[in-house]
Structure formats: C-alpha cells, structure tokens
Symmetry: C2
Subunit: 237 residues, 2 copies
C-alpha cells in the first residue's frame, strides 16, 4: 500500500473515556505518520488541527498556537494529504453535505478523511480546558468545555469518518475540527454551514492503530466500560 492509503491513529478512543489524558506520543513522532489530521494535547488540553505538517492547538480559552515537536498527545489521527475526490460546493448545511457524500459514494464501510477549505456562514466549535490528575472521565471533562462561534469565517475543516462498527476505537461517524486562515479561531466542530469551498475526500484502505503499550496507565486501565457508546456520544457530539 502507498502511504496515502493509511489512516494512522495514536491511541484508542476508549482510553480517553475513563480519563487517560497522559500524553504518550510526541508531535515529532506523530508527524512521521502524516502531515494532516486532528487530535488533542497532553491533559486533554484543547483541540488539535494538523495541516501541511504543522500541529496547531486551540486551547480552552480559544487561543491558537503552533505546538512544539516535543509536546505530547494522548490521542490523534493523521494521514498524508492526497485527496481521492475533490469538488466545489456552495451553500450547504453539514447534514446535507454528509448525506450527499454517501449518496454519491459507497464509502459507508470505510475510513475516509474530509477536508473543506472555504468560507463558512457559521462555525460553532468547542475546546476543553487542560485537565489535572487525577483526571476526570471524558464525559465530565467535556461538561466544562468552552463553546465558540463565528460567522462568515474562512478556514479549513479537517477530520474523519469512521463506520459505526469502530465506535470505541474511534468516535464513529464524522469527527471534524476547524482552524481559520488567520489562526485566531478553531476547535472541535459542533455545527457548521458552508457558503463556498472545496470539499476534498480521501479514502483509506488501511487503518493503523498504534497503542501506547509502554505506558503504565494504559496497560493497567479498565477500558471495558459497558456504557462506552453512550459516554462517547455524550462527550464528542
């Protein structure tokens, strides 16, 4: 397989659910597996957007900064950007755009990236404050999230779709982040509507799950939460 066929993931989503927010992979290491993606930082410190080999952090205060190569992440997804499908789209809601993707492509059973660069009539994001050990569960940490909104904003939506089957390994369905072109606004997207932009999709034949097997918190954790699906949905949507 070519490197563009691989979606790489550091960590499994289920480790965030009970509160394993310890950073276990450096940004430098992560970027060897892709130049584009999303994630979070050590301590669940905000939301991460990776574009063209640069990792940006949107903090709980809504500020944006580029992350250093030695900073750590507990959970992130990256891939090498080489879209398989590109098209322009105007005036569409997120719900209609998602429906259209599955009407036009037989992508329901595979992992793919979605990237939209353009102008959005509205983007609503959230970012979580850095947590302190002993870490609270994800659903509790998400309750203190900060919500940000901006109209007529130009920037990049980036994220992934994963089939329902992989819920727990990933946050199933669409999971997308945002960073504006000025690097003054972004976060984990709660809602958006597109005015005009280029939609780029990239399908993957391979999903490479990398686990922090040398991390003592990870190997000792109980990841079998019987309410995993509910916890993820409460925290991520």
């Amino acid at each position: 397989m070519a490197k563009e066929d691989v979606l790489y993931q550091h960590g499994t989503l289920a480790l965030l659910v009970p509160g394993l927010y310890y950073g276990t992979q450096s940004i430098a290491d992560l970027l060897t597996h892709g130049d584009t993606g999303i994630g979070t930082a050590d301590g669940l410190d905000g939301e991460m957007v990776i574009l063209a080999g640069h990792a940006y952090q949107i903090s709980g205060k809504g500020t944006v900064r580029e992350m250093a190569s030695d900073e750590l992440t507990p959970f992130a997804n990256v891939h090498f950007d080489q879209p398989t499908n590109d098209y322009d789209r105007q005036n569409i809601s997120s719900a209609d755009l998602e429906k259209e993707i599955f009407a036009d492509h037989q992508f329901a059973n595979q992992f793919f990236a979605i990237k939209i660069h353009g102008t959005f009539s509205h983007v609503q994001t959230r970012a979580i404050d850095k947590q302190k050990p002993p870490y609270p569960p994800l659903a509790e940490a998400a309750k203190s999230q900060h919500v940000f909104e901006k109209d007529d904003v130009t920037g990049t939506l980036i994220g992934y779709y994963s089939p329902d089957l992989y819920q727990g390994t990933t946050s199933a369905g669409f999971h997308v982040h945002f960073l504006d072109d000025d690097h003054t606004f972004g976060g984990h997207i709660l809602a958006y509507a597109l005015t005009e932009g280029k939609v780029s999709l990239q399908t993957f034949s391979d999903f490479n799950l990398h686990l922090p097997v040398y991390d003592s918190h990870f190997v000792q954790a109980d990841l079998n939460d019987p309410e995993l699906d509910k916890q993820i949905k409460a925290a991520e949507h």
Copy 2:
C-alpha cells in the same frame, strides 16, 4: 515501529457475519505482511494456519494441504514471528493457561499472538465446508461445521488475543487454530489441554486493519448488525 510490532489483518470480522465470504486478497499478498497467522479461504472454505511463511488449509473434511500463492482469502491475520515472551509449560488446561497469562502480564488492553508448540493431551477443532453463493450468514454456516478431536497430538497452536473493545473488528478474546506436526489434523480450536510445550507470546503496539475497499460486495454491504456481538459469539466459540 519494527515489522514485528505489527499485527496485520485483511478484512474486518463484521464482514463475515452477513456472509461476505468472497476471497479478496491473495495468499502471496497476505504473506508479504507476515509469516505466521490464521484465517479462512475463499467461500469460508475451512480454516487456515500460517507457519514459517507457508499457508495450510484444514478443510471441512479434516484434510490438510498447503495453499497456492494465488488462492484468495476473505479474512486473515498475520504477523512476523518474533516472540516477546517464551516459556515452557506442563499439564495445564486452556482456561488456566489463559488466566495465567493475564496474571503474569499486563496484556489485557493490547493485541498479542499466542503460539504453543508441544504435545496436547486433547485438542478439539472445527472446520466449515466451503459455502456457495448466495452465501448464508456466518452463524448459519457455522451450524454445519465439522468437529474433530485428537488425543496426545503434537503440533502448533497459533492465534491471537484481542481486547473486548475490538469485537466486530476481530473476534474478541482468544481466537486460536491448530495444525499437527504431521499435517493430518487441525482446524479452529474449540477446546484443548496441554501436556508439555513451549508457550510463545508476542505483543503488538500496532494493529493494521486492511479493508477490501475495491470489492463491490464489501462497499455495498450493511455491516451494522445490531446483534453483531451475539452472532460472532454463536459462530466463533
């Protein structure tokens, strides 16, 4: 990561559940990703054991033969054999051996291979006959499985443990196959007890899921069976 750190999987277990038994990867291609493993053949034709770079098929009739490089598999797991833990063990049941592994090692949250070469006081296996399209669901196909038993048999148990979290992607828990040294007996293991042998474990930091995204049956299938867990347990245990 080193190649020995990767568990490679062709296909997702959920595709077998509704009956997607079409072979979608050649044995030659599969063996580029590992020299050791388990799987099944085109049409759910028996059980596969891969040892030292050779793929063997145990048919529904109980016969063993080496597979050709151009034969196809719908689902298989392979890795490059380089055990991380090796020890000798005598007179132990499968249940006690499994308990002992988790008592001795913090492996519950990771993928690992288990290989045991030795003499078994008892091995009970099953193998499924080749199915014909339109393929029946896995739970139905498994009903016509053939069960084989042998006492005091010398051979190799090979397979994997995957955490509960990955049920549907894999068959969670232990999933092990057997091939005797004479190549006259084997299959998917239903029960075993060890007289004396070497137990080899190999942990993986990376799980590489490879999906048949160019197969029309796969991309069109509905893989969201609400009773997935139940169907897998009915068919695989």
